[in-house]
Amino acid sequence: MSHHVVGIKVYIAIFLSLMVLTGLTVWVAFINWGFMNDVVAMSIAVLKMTLVVLFFMHLKYQARLLWLIAGAGVIWLMIMFALTLSDYRSREWIESAFTRPVPWVASEEAATYQAEQMKAQESEDAGAHH
């Protein structure tokens, strides 16, 4: 692993890009993108993070083992987001299951069939008691 020296010009260029992107973040915050609000803000943040990691933290010039370790961190963050969102995105499902008709019992025939089945089951239970 050779020690790579990064020129001062690169640092200045990255610093200026980060400043521009920060300004951009503020600017887009005043525009309503609808459901894209979070996506836009997060995209800029990810871009900034990538610049910092690659240049300020020198990952661009490092061996593949370090790429693997940095990549693992990103993947683990994704695991956290994905499984946490599995909770938040599915919370209203259970509510809608109670308020909206479930497809497979929506039809009238299905409802009648179910009622018949329950009746049959009840009389069977009653018979068992005797």
Partner: protein, 557 residues
């Protein structure tokens, strides 16, 4: 059951020759050392103090629980005591226990290198740990904390009138200490193995340390950020977790358990590594299915990150997310079962000897299996609704953390005690203490399964009188358990001066750490060792073994 110790290479008493313990006797030679072995000893002493404090809190509230009305303590004091027990035992004993003590001491020796990759960072980790620990202790002594070790919001951020911020700060700081240790271990294992020491010749203890370090590196930053969020909400009233401020309390539980569930594996994986060493050494056999045991450590480390939602089945988490987490939780049982099977298969046709470290390893096998199996009850959503937040959960995680984690730590401490101190512990006393601890542990926690099943909620100060008999049994067990720990502390300290002088390899084990003297020189090895076989090559005769081979008949079981 005594060892045939032939102290040929170490006939003079420890202290009169050059090794890491005699390399400087001043306080500053300890406080400014960069020797991984001395740092391990520093950690050992500090962790024992934390363990005794956490244990004392447990004894107090167990005494209080003898009567249904809780006559000994006020309710606030009771809340503060169980919080203190949790915070101290989790953050300041269990998480650092094996990595910081045995790992620090052994890892470089097992790798055949002189020290860890970053020795100064290693020393810094101890100072950072002590800073965090003392801050948490300060919070506990001057007012106390009553939020439970989990710091659940919005209680911890908005309502608790106790030193939450200080305790959170302590846990936050201690987290950096474990990150430093983990970073050191990962780099050391990757970069500093002795010539010939390939990945699949490594002791399984090293694999376990590697897996643990990965969990620490990937998880700890998340809990650090989460604790900062508590800070921000409690002090600045930013709405993150409190619904009154527009936050979501379950979000805290997601972020907290994303680290704190894998933290269970930080506590148990190192113990599994120790048990692999013990079972192999005391049954004189190569570990059965080495690669499976090694990879199952990594599998546990990875799958352990997918299961945290099982702590939230009844906390208004979506039932669909609950299904996913329940399903994923069952998967952790697979690599764990592989390990249990492989250890058992290692015993088969082995030359098993029942010395104290092996008794702890057997204790681990039985107790951890019970702890793991009851975990399946809790990961099943339907049964968890009945058992959630009852004593069943308390019993389950104590079987995992004490029955697994602490048993492994004690087994390892006895096994490597001669290497660390140059002295043997008294075998008879050690066997006695191991049995006392085993009995005391089961008497403490087995009744708690019943308590929980019958509906006794955890963290309650007062309870219905029908639970009293089981609570009294549990308290009786806790006193026996505490007594066992005290016997052990006593004879270990006694052995420092009066124990029989240990040779390089009192167990006849094959790991690299047994090929240097006891205690090792500061440089670990005077000549860099070249490794020609794996750490379990019991078919290859050892050059350093103090045990006559074949072992005498009466030692076989």
């Amino acid at each position: 059951m005594t060892m045939n110790t032939v102290a040929t290479d170490n006939p003079v008493p420890a202290g009169s020759e050059k090794h890491y313990l005699t390399n400087g006797h001043t306080l500053s030679s300890w406080l400014f050392t960069v020797d991984h072995k001395r740092i391990g000893i520093l950690y050992l002493i500090s962790l024992v103090v934390f363990f005794l404090l956490g244990g004392a809190a447990a004894v107090l509230f167990r005494l209080d629980l003898m009567t249904p009305a809780g006559d000994l303590l006020r309710s606030e004091t009771y809340n503060k005591l169980f919080t203190m027990h949790g915070i101290v035992m989790i953050f300041f004993f269990l998480i650092p226990s094996i990595p910081a003590v045995l790992g620090n001491f052994l890892l470089p020796i097992m790798l055949g290198t002189r020290d860890v990759a970053f020795p100064k960072l290693n020393l810094l980790s101890w100072y950072v740990f002590m800073a965090g620990g003392l801050l948490a202790l300060f919070a506990i002594v001057f007012g106390g904390v009553d939020s439970g070790w989990t710091f659940y919001t919005p209680y911890s951020t908005m309502y608790a009138n106790s030193n939450v911020i200080l305790a959170v700060c302590g846990a936050f700081i201690a987290g950096f200490s474990s990150i430093m240790t983990a970073l050191n271990f990962v780099v050391t294992i990757h970069k500093m193995r002795a010539p010939g020491l390939t990945w699949f010749r490594l002791p399984l203890f090293v694999w376990a340390m590697y897996a643990t370090s990965l969990v620490v590196l990937l998880g700890t930053p998340v809990v650090a950020i989460t604790l900062v969020m508590i800070f921000v909400e409690r002090l600045l009233h930013f709405g993150i977790f409190d619904p009154a401020l527009g936050g979501d309390p379950v979000l805290f539980q997601h972020l907290f358990w994303f680290y704190s569930h894998p933290a269970v594996y930080i506590m148990i994986l190192p113990s599994m590594g120790v048990v692999s060493e013990l079972i192999s050494a005391f049954s004189r056999r190569r570990i059965y299915g080495y690669k499976f045991v090694a990879y199952s450590s990594l599998a546990i480390a990875v799958i352990g990150f997918f299961v945290w939602g099982h702590h939230m089945f009844v906390s208004s988490q979506s039932v669909y997310a609950g299904l996913i987490f329940s399903f994923l939780t069952f998967f952790v049982a697979v690599p764990t079962a592989i390990k249990i099977l492989n250890w058992t298969m290692t015993l088969y046709k082995g030359s098993v000897s029942l010395q104290a470290p092996m008794l702890y390893a057997f204790g681990f096998l039985g107790l951890f299996t019970i702890g793991g199996m009851t975990g399946l009850f809790l990961s099943t959503m339907a049964t968890d609704i009945h058992l959630h937040d009852t004593y069943f959960v308390v019993a389950h995680f104590h079987y995992v953390m004490v029955g697994g984690g602490v048993m492994g730590f004690l087994g390892g401490l006895h096994f490597w005690w001669p290497k660390m101190t140059g002295r043997m512990y008294p075998e008879g006393w050690a066997i006695f203490a191991a049995i006392v601890i085993f009995v005391g542990f089961n008497l403490t926690f087995f009744p708690q399964f019943q308590l929980g099943y019958h509906g006794m909620p955890r963290r309650y100060h007062e309870y219905a009188s029908q639970f009293q008999i089981l609570h009294v049994m549990s308290t009786a067990g806790a006193s026996i358990l505490g007594f066992g720990y005290l016997i052990m502390t006593g004879y270990l300290i006694w052995s420092l001066k009066f124990g029989k002088v240990a040779g390089s390899n009192p167990w006849g084990a094959r790991g690299l750490e047994w090929e240097t003297t006891s205690p090792p020189p500061t440089e670990n090895f005077l000549v860099t060792p070249v490794v020609k076989h794996e750490a379990y090559a019991y078919d290859v005769p050892s050059e350093t073994s103090d045990v006559q081979e074949p072992r005498p008949e009466q030692h076989n079981v």
